[in-house]
């Protein structure tokens, strides 16, 4: 085997989450009463358009979650193979064109010449101070000054053409699939979709898929020849960095909730069901945790974990593994600071549920407590868990950027929106200004968070419109929204 698979901690958890989601989806599909609210979600136009975009992000993130190390040509004395220190992912392999063409330093988006003047020896032997050509960006052009824009335009149009072709193919496939399923004429199905008369909002979904294609295809075509979003200080392609950041954002947004979920569920339900001294203790614990300013608790936790990791530096074979463990720590700590809101909601719901007739009846029949909790309470609070998961997501992605700025975010060697912004914010002072890293990080983060927000709104409206994120801006140390139940429903 020319490579060795590397299973990072976050990879394992991400794939576990994917498996859980698939099992959950299968389970829901089997039960009519669980399907009903989901059907409402699928009917929401904005929610489903946002889901299409989210799916693209998730696909990139998942590709980026399969890691391996390449085998080197050299061998150890014992004959065992040596493996490269660099941990690559499937995404890196696919985006090889982006990764393997570094420049020397900054370069503007779609530039063919370097960012700063350098001493160059002309072919006739004289020394001149001019903008040298880039190593890779626009290297196929003979005279960039004259050809650059027409070449870019041609390639963009080619990309757009490809996008349109793909989009038409996608629409046809969809119509063919639907027609086959409904045993309907192909033409009728197509008209239904285009006129927006189908039960599901296929038209908006196709529109957003078209938009994604229109952006992605020209980017893909151009990125073979240029650095479409420029390069950063060490000459790394910004588009590549931005795409790599997606995985970090997704991991923080999902794993944090996953990590805190067991605690929140267990404690919340126990407090609400048993009441009495158990309730007192659990309430005490979460009030205490809640009263510590969030950012400071995170900072304290991250600093503490840093010391532990420094002490055991030999545990980690590669920089990536180390950064990955730190990311996991960050998720854990963020989870600890954020489970209180969900826990309180669940406690309230459990208090309400335990008085209902069917729970009283179960108690009267002598059903053991843990069974009542798992059979009667748990299924009835799952919608709250679901809403909390999707609503927390966007706040966590945004929080990551702030935490990286504060210096308690992900490892500096790990590419994320936060580290990109943090590294790039001082570059605005340069002359000419280096704006592209910052701009692309903000734009991609905006698209990700906006689609997550739209989707979570759709989920919330379908399951329980009373729950909402009360973002209290005025709490200076609370960087993320806390879930609250709408006052006085």
């Amino acid at each position: 085997m020319p490579y060795r698979h590397v299973l990072l901690w976050t990879d394992a958890l991400v794939w576990l989450l994917v498996t859980c989601a698939m099992v959950f989806a299968w389970y829901v599909a089997q039960h009519e009463h669980l399907r009903a609210p989901w059907r409402k979600v699928t009917e929401s136009r904005y929610g489903m358009s946002a889901l299409v975009i989210l799916a693209v992000f998730v696909a990139i993130g998942l590709l980026d979650s399969i890691h391996y190390r390449e085998r080197l040509d050299t061998r150890q004395a014992s004959g065992a193979a040596n493996y490269a220190v660099e941990v690559l992912s499937l995404f890196d392999a696919l985006a090889g064109r982006l990764r393997n063409k570094p420049e020397r330093t900054y370069s503007a988006p779609l530039a063919a010449y370097a960012y700063a003047k350098e001493n160059v020896t002309r072919p006739d032997g004289t020394l001149a101070r001019e903008f040298p050509r880039l190593l890779h960006g626009g290297a196929h052009l003979d005279d960039p000054a004259a050809q650059l824009w027409s070449d870019v335009l041609r390639k963009t149009l080619a990309g757009a053409g490809l996008a349109v072709a793909l989009w038409i193919a996608l629409t046809m496939l969809l119509a063919a699939w639907l027609a086959g399923r409904r045993e309907q004429a192909f033409g009728d199905t197509l008209t239904e979709i285009i006129r927006g008369r189908a039960a599901l909002p296929w038209r908006p979904m196709l529109l957003s898929a078209g938009l994604v294609l229109l952006v992605a295809c020209p980017l893909a075509v151009l990125s073979g020849y240029y650095h479409v979003l420029g390069t950063d200080k060490v000459g790394q392609d910004v588009l590549y960095q931005t795409l790599k950041s997606i995985r970090t954002g997704l991991v923080i947004g999902t794993l944090t909730t996953l990590v805190m979920l067991p605690f929140a569920l267990l404690f919340g339900l126990m407090a609400g069901y048993f009441r009495g001294w158990i309730d007192d203790i659990i309430q005490y614990v979460y009030t205490t945790l809640n009263s510590i300013p969030g950012v400071l608790l995170i900072a304290a936790g991250v600093l503490a974990s840093q010391v532990v990791m420094d002490r055991h530096a030999d545990y980690f074979e590669t920089v990536t593994e180390r950064a990955d463990v730190r990311l996991l720590f960050l998720c854990l700590i963020l989870g600890i600071t954020s489970w209180t809101g969900l826990c309180r909601l669940l406690r309230g719901e459990a208090l309400k549920l335990r008085e209902l007739d069917y729970v009283q009846a179960a108690r009267a029949f002598g059903v053991p407590d843990w069974r009542i909790i798992s059979r009667h309470l748990l299924p009835n609070v799952m919608h709250i868990v679901l809403i909390a998961t999707v609503m927390d997501f966007s706040g966590l992605v945004l929080a990551e950027a702030v935490l990286s700025y504060v210096g308690v975010g992900v490892d500096p060697s790990m590419i994320s929106f936060g580290t990109m912004i943090n590294n790039a914010r001082l570059e605005l002072a340069r002359e000419p200004m280096v704006w592209w890293s910052l701009a692309s990080a903000f734009v991609f983060m905006f698209v990700l968070v906006l689609s997550a927000n739209l989707f979570s709104d759709a989920v919330r409206d379908a399951f329980d419109p009373r729950i909402r994120a009360g973002w209290s801006l005025f709490l200076p140390f609370r960087s993320r929204p806390a879930l609250v139940v709408a006052p006085r429903s």
Partner: protein, 325 residues
């Protein structure tokens, strides 16, 4: 009500003890004083004597919880736990790792923080309520729709973008106010206005949207229908009835934060170079100055609990139906 407040204050004591224990565990058991010393002195090539000296200078050379060598009460008081953690209860914050008095720093640095936090709270609150009322007035029209879309878009933008963009636009391009720093006396406003404005703009999406839903909930109630039925204008209905009743849930979110105002905002203050408590904390985190972080954690917890009590009291003032017992 007095009895209620007293009871709440007494409830706060175990919570603060919990906070204290958590921070103590985080800072002294996960990281031993030796680790802290090594980190402060630089990771590599630190001699054992240097660590001992560093610990002795700062009083970290005492035993953790119990001092067997001391006499009487000092068995308990001559320990790190008592000196560094319990002393926070009487707001004796001790000294930072660089030797400065934390209590003094807090007293001087709270004013710049307040100078930013109070204007942005007041202006922000009135802005958000105005926008939310407008959207509620134009409910189910295109104005409302566009407004909500803008709100969702605004809350999807990273707060850092507002800061960096605002700084670039207002300070660098238009040269209206200084990029960062802090002034003396009347000149202060030039340094305060931009961070305060950004604080307001940064929260407009989420808050205006939340307040709009609160107002819309009120608008569909019976008393509003009665008010309309007796011929009140829509403006009177909105301001006299909906606003008044909608303010109650809004208060919950705001009053709890008021005591915490003088801690300021970490990110905003450090971007604008304001010598407030927020940037103080951030510097402490970056310098890994645990005594400052510890003090701020405790202070933050105290202020949060005060905020909760104030919220309960403000309820009785805003809504006479609520009685605290």
């Amino acid at each position: 009500m007095f009895a209620y407040v007293v009871r709440r204050v007494l409830y706060a004591v175990p919570i603060l003890i919990g906070v204290n224990l958590i921070t103590f565990a985080l800072f002294f058991f996960v990281n031993s004083p030796d680790d802290i010393a090594r980190m402060q002195l630089g990771q590599k090539r630190v001699t054992a004597e240097a660590i001992q000296k560093w610990k002795a200078e700062r009083g970290y050379d005492r035993p953790m919880l119990f001092n067997g060598q001391a006499a009487g009460v000092e068995k308990l008081t001559e320990t790190i736990f008592f000196r560094k953690s319990v002393s926070l209860f009487w707001f004796d914050f001790g000294h930072a790792e660089d030797g400065r008095d934390i209590g003094h720093e807090i007293r001087t640095r709270m004013w710049p923080s307040l100078a930013i936090a109070i204007p942005s709270l007041l202006v922000g609150l009135s802005c958000y309520i105005t926008v939310a009322l407008l959207l509620a007035f134009f409910r189910a029209t295109y104005v409302d729709f566009v407004g909500v879309v803008l709100c969702v878009a605004a809350m999807s933008i990273s707060g850092l973008f507002y800061i960096i963009g605002g700084q670039y636009l207002v300070s660098k391009l238009w040269n209206l106010v200084p990029i960062s720093g802090y002034g003396q006396g009347i000149d202060t406003w030039r340094f305060v206005i931009l961070p305060a404005a950004i604080g307001v703009v940064g929260g407009i999406g989420a808050s205006a949207r939340l307040y709009r839903t609160i107002f819309l909930e009120e608008i569909h109630r019976d008393y509003v229908r009665t008010a309309r039925a007796k011929g009140l204008t829509e403006g009177r209905v909105l301001f006299g009835h909906v606003l008044r009743n909608g303010l109650l849930p809004i208060l919950t979110g705001v009053v709890v934060a008021i005591p915490a105002l003088f801690i300021g905002s970490l990110v905003l203050e450090s971007f604008f170079g304001i010598p407030g408590l927020g940037s103080y904390t951030l510097d402490a985190i970056n310098a890994q100055d645990f005594s400052v972080v510890r003090a701020m954690v405790f202070l933050g917890a105290v202020l949060y609990i005060v905020g909760l009590i104030l919220t309960d009291i403000s309820y009785t003032i805003a809504d006479p139906r609520i009685r605290l017992r």
